[in-house]
């Protein structure tokens, strides 16, 4: 007992006198970067991983064909020159000369072809991004041609992400590559100090061609299983960077950490999948979908459910993209009476029942807000119990006409591919609207301003037709020590490795 009283007393004293964890004096720049991650990488084999958190594990060891700028525009990296033909189905690439993989294999055009051919057969999201590639032809040691089955506006920027990473051709296809990467990147995975799925220690690749962009001698990415452990690691100075929850950001700030927010490129809302009314005929009626949009008090949801972080909106396209139109958000002001009138006009004055998956274990506040909104206009949500392991498959199989959900929405083209075409995975009822299909096909062959204009038309149409009932485009909250400066990148949920630099003192 005495011991416990002692511990309690010590804690109290320390809490009162805590000196905000000031870093020990000294002006030397940090040489090690410690990143806290929340999930291990799926694989190190090109094509077999996703495009999100895995990036943190891939960027130290792999070069990508392109490197996207902070604005998300592709720029040179391993590829030094590139151009499309007029039909935008032939992409010629020129490769940087003299780069070698860490096993000594030269990174030439043949190596790039081997990677693209292997990655597009991959089972991960990154592999899926290469689905328009029909053939890769090597012209000479530094030149190659990528032939597409149809134009893909996102291909080049995607090749600047995880879809474009390059592994040694000697390692491609081996089971070892899943856990032990062999690349040409700025760092080498130190297998002796690393543990698969747990901790990844990267040390400098002495022969790297562009070392100046990577100021740290060592990069450590550790997988955490517990939020509280992440907070302790940040406060104890054991981690330099982590994505944290909004509610923890204040206590971390007072502990002397830098807090910054960046778009999470996720649109949360009520996804009205059954737009043709297969399960719930009412949802086929645009007025019903518009009524649902007007029943949502987006500002209240923004303030109360999302703590004021992110952006309240009725658009699915990212607010950072040029397809986003601020004025469109005025289309559905919160107005229960007007919503009820729309329902009555559509012939549903007495409302209807809307079966949905019960996501209250994960998103209790969102579900409460949606329930309140729907009930106010006479629509009765009928929540059905969900098995966490089959939730995604059930949604994709069209088991639910609508769901509270958040879908990745980086570039407009990417979202269109994921959710808008009749064949899209996240169009589970395969709704085919000629206007939507035409606009997507039009944008596919366009570039620049013409393409932006088409996406704006598509966005306007989606909002007017109320294809979705989005409410928030959420933010990620980054916590970092004052020793480092973190620069995010547009269309990426996490900052790229070259976005981490030592703070100027």
């Amino acid at each position: 007992m005495r011991k416990l009283v002692g511990i309690a007393a010590v804690t109290a004293v320390l809490a009162l006198t805590a000196c905000n964890g000031s870093s020990p004096g000294g002006s030397t720049a940090p040489t090690e970067l410690d990143i806290a991650a929340i999930a291990p990488p799926e694989s190190f084999s090109p094509g077999n991983f996703g495009t999100g958190p895995t990036t943190q594990f891939l960027q130290p060891v792999y070069d990508s064909l392109f490197r996207n700028t902070n604005e998300g525009e592709p720029a040179e990296n391993i590829v030094t020159k590139w151009s499309y033909d007029d039909a935008r189905t032939k992409l010629s690439l020129t490769i940087r000369e003299g780069v070698k993989f860490t096993d000594g294999t030269p990174l030439d055009a043949a190596a790039v072809k081997a990677n693209l051919d292997s990655a597009r057969k991959g089972t991960g999201e990154a592999g899926g991004q290469l689905r328009f590639i029909q053939e890769v032809t090597v012209t000479d040691a530094t030149n190659l041609m990528v032939t597409l089955s149809a134009p893909d506006p996102s291909l080049v920027p995607n090749l600047g992400g995880t879809a474009g990473v390059l592994a040694s051709p000697k390692a491609l296809g081996t089971a070892e590559l899943d856990t032990t990467p062999v690349g040409s990147g700025p760092y080498i995975l130190d297998a002796a100090k690393s543990q698969t799925g747990i901790k990844y220690v990267y040390t400098r690749n002495a022969d790297y061609w562009n070392a100046k962009d990577f100021p740290f001698d060592t990069v450590e990415v550790t997988v955490f299983n517990d939020n509280n452990a992440i907070l302790n690691a940040l406060r104890a100075g054991e981690a330099d960077f982590a994505v944290v929850t909004d509610k923890d950001s204040n206590s971390l700030k007072s502990a002397g950490l830098n807090i910054q927010t960046s778009p999470a490129y996720t649109t949360s809302g009520l996804y009205l999948f059954d737009r043709k009314g297969s399960l719930v005929p009412a949802l086929a009626e645009p007025k019903v979908r518009q009524a649902i949009n007007m029943a949502l008090d987006r500002d209240a949801i923004h303030a109360k459910v999302f703590g004021g972080k992110g952006k309240a909106t009725s658009q699915v396209f990212s607010s950072t993209s040029d397809a986003f139109i601020p004025d469109l958000d005025k289309k559905y002001p919160f107005d229960v009476d007007a919503a009820k009138k729309l329902l009555a006009d559509a012939g549903y004055a007495n409302g209807f029942t809307l079966p949905m998956p019960d996501v209250s274990p994960v998103y209790p506040d969102q579900q409460a807000a949606v329930t309140e909104a729907l009930t106010a206009i006479g629509v009765t949500p009928q929540y059905q119990p969900v098995n966490g392991q089959t939730f995604i498959s059930d949604l994709l199989a069209g088991k639910y006409p609508a769901a509270i959900f958040g879908l990745n929405s980086p570039r407009p083209w990417d979202f269109a591919q994921i959710a808008l075409t009749p064949e899209s995975l996240w169009n589970p009822f395969h709704v085919s609207d000629p206007t939507v299909v035409d606009l997507i096909n039009k944008a596919q062959g366009e570039t620049g301003d013409a393409q932006t204009e088409t996406f704006r038309q598509l966005n306007t149409y989606l909002v007017e037709q109320a294809w979705f009932a989005p409410y928030i485009q959420s933010d990620n909250v980054f916590a970092s020590t004052t020793e480092i400066t973190v620069t995010p990148q547009r269309y990426s949920t996490l900052p790229p490795l070259w976005g981490f630099t030592a703070s100027k003192k």
Partner: protein, 313 residues
């Protein structure tokens, strides 16, 4: 003696078989779709099908079971569905942290528990009552709470010890000790209190027995009476407690590992089970069964060594 050991090992094998079979079918009965879990929400139907074939999940369940069993008997536990890491390698990474914690905490608990128990039993009076109350209280405090407080005070505020992570003994014995100190204390406190109460009870019983009086009347020094004779006689029940504590410690280590982000077998079991990584879960189940069987066997042998009466049975 040899027969006894062989019999125990044979029953251990049966236990391994039964438990792993049950785990295999129970995990398959949950109706989950591990392939979708592996590939995430945006993988296409073709990608899912390709992965399903690659993992052999398109085969009938019974075929999958015999394939797994066949490889397992040959010592090949397969690869993780999620990271493609060989399960054997994964176990060799996650066992040392957990065993360091569990064995460390048991040694700590046994030493200090016995010391406190014996002191209480011999001194009695106010000290005894105080120790009893303290032990009961400590038993009532959940280990994770102790872990959280320890981490906050000694790692975050004082920065004396690491807040998270584990260093292997082979990398640096000093750092290894530092990395397990707080987890071991958090894990040990509960067992320490239980062992103290257990030892106290047995010691009081033994000290009142006739043979102790006889030993004393023969003029043996008190120290020898207590350490050589009474403690030996009282140790039996405490050893059984320790073996039970071992099993409890393995399961409590899950939460302690979480608090200190120690990459142990508990965390691994938890993660793998929740995402349906069957090969890893089965591997962990097998190893846990082996540990329990071996510890029980060792405790039985130790009982025989300490107390000749047990050897007859």
């Amino acid at each position: 003696m040899l027969m006894f050991i062989l019999r125990r090992l044979a029953s251990g094998l049966v236990l391994m078989f039964v438990i792993s079979t049950a785990t295999f079918f129970l995990l398959n009965l949950t109706g989950q779709d591990p392939v979708r879990q592996v590939l995430g929400p945006v993988a296409s139907a073709e990608q899912v099908e390709a992965k399903r074939q690659q993992l052999g999940l398109d085969e009938p369940l019974i075929t999958q079971y015999f394939q797994w069993l066949g490889s397992a008997v040959r010592g090949d536990l397969g690869r993780s569905w999620f990271t493609n890491q060989p399960v054997g390698e994964l176990l060799s990474q996650t066992l040392p942290p957990t065993l360091s914690m569990v064995i460390g905490s048991l040694i700590l608990a046994a030493c200090f528990g016995t010391l406190i128990g014996v002191t209480a039993a011999l001194r009695r009076g106010r000290l005894d009552r105080g120790l009893q109350v303290a032990s009961t209280l400590v038993q009532a405090i959940p280990g994770f709470l102790v872990a959280l407080v320890l981490a906050l005070v000694f790692a975050v505020q004082l920065r004396l010890l690491p807040a998270t992570g584990f260093t292997a003994f082979s990398d640096s014995p000093g750092k290894w000790l530092a990395s397990i100190t707080l987890p071991v204390i958090a894990l040990a406190l509960g067992s320490l209190a239980s062992i103290a109460l257990q030892v106290r009870g047995s010691m009081i019983d033994v000290m009142q027995q006739d043979f102790v009086r006889t030993l004393r009347s023969r003029g043996l020094p008190e120290r020898s009476v207590v350490v050589k004779h009474a403690l030996r006689s009282a140790a039996g029940p405490s050893l059984t407690t320790v073996s039970l504590m071992f099993i409890v410690a393995i399961s409590s280590s899950v939460i302690i590992e979480k608090v200190f982000n120690i990459p142990g077998i508990g965390t691994q079991a938890n993660n793998s089970a929740s995402r349906g990584d069957l090969p890893v879960v089965l591997g962990i189940v097998l190893v846990t069964v082996v540990l329990v069987v071996v510890v029980n066997l060792l405790v039985d042998l130790a009982q025989g060594w300490i107390n000749p009466k047990v050897r007859v049975s």
